[in-house]
């Protein structure tokens, strides 16, 4: 650990390696932004490398005016907010209940029931048939939100966190006449903001990025979330024509810049938010993996 300050070969190699990691992550973003601001002429000739050429904002005007993108953005925000709220509620109460291993009736049965689903599932088609035919969840917000609103892994992470809560405080709360629900609400939750933030982030990212669930459980174009529209725009299949060329005023916009601009618009919120939540999610991951 104690080292001299002189620059050794290893330090140089190490720094270069880490810089490569950083660049491999930042360059695609930089390139994406550069192309999205560039004009058709330079993109068609594949001349963009680091900064926009023929800078213009028309691409973003087209993207932000696109009804599909706007509507799906709205949908994604709704699904994410509602989904995260429900998921947090369910995960918290379940995890708290399970953290009282010695007092929860049927703990063994319930715990096994949850854990077993981590290793065995009915599979894609029975799950779909159940959702649509038995639960009647199809083509509405609940069909997107409910299938992933309790993650067993997250329950375990939270349960582990709750077991670390000092028992004496809970006991004194109960002596003061609080039920377990009251203890959770008045005593435990106020000290659990960190884990709540972590879980909230995990679920929110999950809902924001969800692709498969909306792919099969949604039908109406007006209900599709951003990721599905993103795929329609960015990875259309080869046999499809795209509606003419994108044009805004008298400027022709290259398809690539539309695609990059769309990706950028879709990811910017998450990229902007995650650095500020770093200390929470790092903690969450550690609880989850080490002691889960």
């Amino acid at each position: 650990m104690v080292q001299s300050k002189k620059i050794t070969v290893w330090v140089v190699i190490r720094t270069i390696l880490l810089l490569i990691v950083v660049l491999s992550i930042l360059y695609p973003l930089l390139y994406m932004v550069a192309v999205s601001f560039s004009s058709n002429h330079f993109i068609a000739r594949n001349e963009i490398s680091f900064y926009p050429k023929g800078f213009h904002l028309e691409t973003y005007k087209v993207v932000l005016k696109d009804d599909r993108i706007f509507m799906s953005y709205k949908n994604t925000i709704i699904y994410t907010v509602v989904g995260t709220a429900i998921a947090l509620l369910f995960t918290t109460i379940t995890a708290y209940g399970l953290s009282k291993k010695n007092r929860l009736p049927f703990y063994g049965v319930i715990n096994s029931m949850l854990i077993a689903t981590m290793f065995f599932s009915g599979g894609m088609i029975p799950a779909y048939l159940t959702m649509v035919n038995i639960l009647k969840l199809y083509d509405n917000i609940w069909a997107v939100v409910l299938p992933s609103c309790i993650s067993t892994t997250n329950v375990i992470i939270m349960r582990t966190f709750f077991t670390q809560f000092p028992l004496e405080i809970e006991e004194s709360g109960r002596i003061d006449g609080l039920t377990d629900v009251g203890v959770l609400w008045y005593l435990v939750l106020p000290t659990s903001t960190a884990i709540m933030a972590t879980m909230g982030l995990f679920y929110a990212v999950g809902y924001w990025n969800a692709f498969f669930t909306p792919l099969i459980y949604l039908k109406s174009q007006s209900k599709l979330p951003l990721q599905i529209i993103l795929r329609q725009i960015v990875m259309r299949s080869q046999h499809e024509d795209f509606a003419a060329l994108f044009a805004s005023g008298d400027k022709i916009i290259h398809e690539d810049s539309i695609k990059y601009a769309t990706i950028f618009v879709a990811t910017a919120p998450i990229i902007a938010v995650y650095p500020w939540l770093q200390k929470y999610f790092v903690k969450g991951v550690m609880i989850g993996s080490l002691k889960g």
Partner: protein, 521 residues
Amino acid sequence: MKRILAVLLVMMLALSLASCVKTGGDSTTQPSATEPAGETLGTVFGPDVELTVMIGSHAGYPYDENWKIWQYVKEAMGGKITIEAIMDSWDTKVSLIMTSRDQLPDVMHVATKAGVDKYALDGAFVSILDNLDKLPNFKKWMDTCEESAAYINSRKSGDGNVYHFPTYGLHTINNIRTWMYRVDIFEKLNWQLPKDWNELYELGKKYKELYPDSYPLASRENLNKLSQFGPQWKPYMQNKFYYDFVNEKWSYGITEPEFKELFLMYKKFYDEGLLPVNILTMATNDWTSLVTTDKVIMFNDYIIRIDMLHAAGRPGNPDFTVAAFPPPKGLSASATTLLPKTNSEYTGYVICNTGKLNRVANAFKYVDWFYSEEGSELTSWGKEGETYEIKDGKRVYIKDANNTPVRNLYGVGTYGLYQLVDVESNEAAYSEENVASARKVLNWLEDKFNPYEWLALNEEETLYKQQYEANFDAYVNEQLAAFFLGERPMSEWDQFIQEVRKMGLDEMLKIYDAAYKRASQ
């Protein structure tokens, strides 16, 4: 703490209620069957009829609820018409919807006969011919149009019923595919059109030498394109199942020696750079930009692409011109100069078996309207002064300043909006030079359709086909791609044919043979 309990209970209640209300709703909100269907209002339905229409949405002309033609349809229908436009993965979406009767729309506009047959024998749709009394306008068309019998016959499903409404009026230009070339480039270079595939290859080579970054012979649609070339090497040949009218037997294209010759030729094009390196995954836009930047000079595609290419190419190059040319003759012994007959339109409405009499009755009324004079007129032309005008005694569509195709502008000829089409209107949707080219191409088509497109299989056969052909087709597609890209050596071709045979090819051929004999009786 009661608060929490309340929240919990409400949540759970709300969830279960939400699902109950959804299921309960259907049966109660239906109008009774005896209700006079809005005749007093001059519409097909009264104001409280609800009807769901599921249609595809083509990426080239994605569904737009503001399209005038849809608005005319909705006006004429009355009631509340909900359009569900499926943007991509139609097969998957339909398959998912088919798992639950509650999710079925009232009518669907299905693009292929196979897409209907897959579910028809399970009872997903309602038979047309058993319900002609509910279809007065359709009946009138049957009685007055000479070709109607043939059209209806080609829509039969394996149980002898017809579920798929035939579309009429699109046979003169839509779906015709042909060889095309860059007229301006040929004139500039003073080149003659190729008469056979050797000359085609030579011209490609010559152009590639002149412009090394060109891909002179690039067509879209990867190796499926070989079906378009099939007849030039052997009459009626396709790359998959087809009926050989000359030898009167069913065959699978790739097993024919002529197919191998064709394949080798196309592979030579690829190996020598006459086709772009990403030909198997090339997007249409990439291809369009190759054509408009003079990198492609000859290709095979839909004839209506002439207008699209002109629109894309002429702003940069006023001379830019694409036209059809007669198919070059193949190099095999049985070569012809013909194109497969593809001027059929297998898209049409089906009525879903929702199990509710009112809904089915309304669905019949809905589709029947498309065969009425009013329906045919409004979907073909729209309204005078709004979507068309009369010039020199002829009807022409009113265009916007950008010369947007009427499909994108009004929705003319988009999914869900054609059943009985005025032939003239269909041609009026394209430029005169495009129509002129199409007229010529009609003479180069073979005389018979590949029965594979419409053949009706019975339940057992359908089951076999459904479970088998998916594997089978996927395997052939992949192996063809592997041979084409050189990942599998051509020396293993015969082995490949044997592999395909082992996977049950002969069984499939027998099935098609039996079904075809049944249908021909």
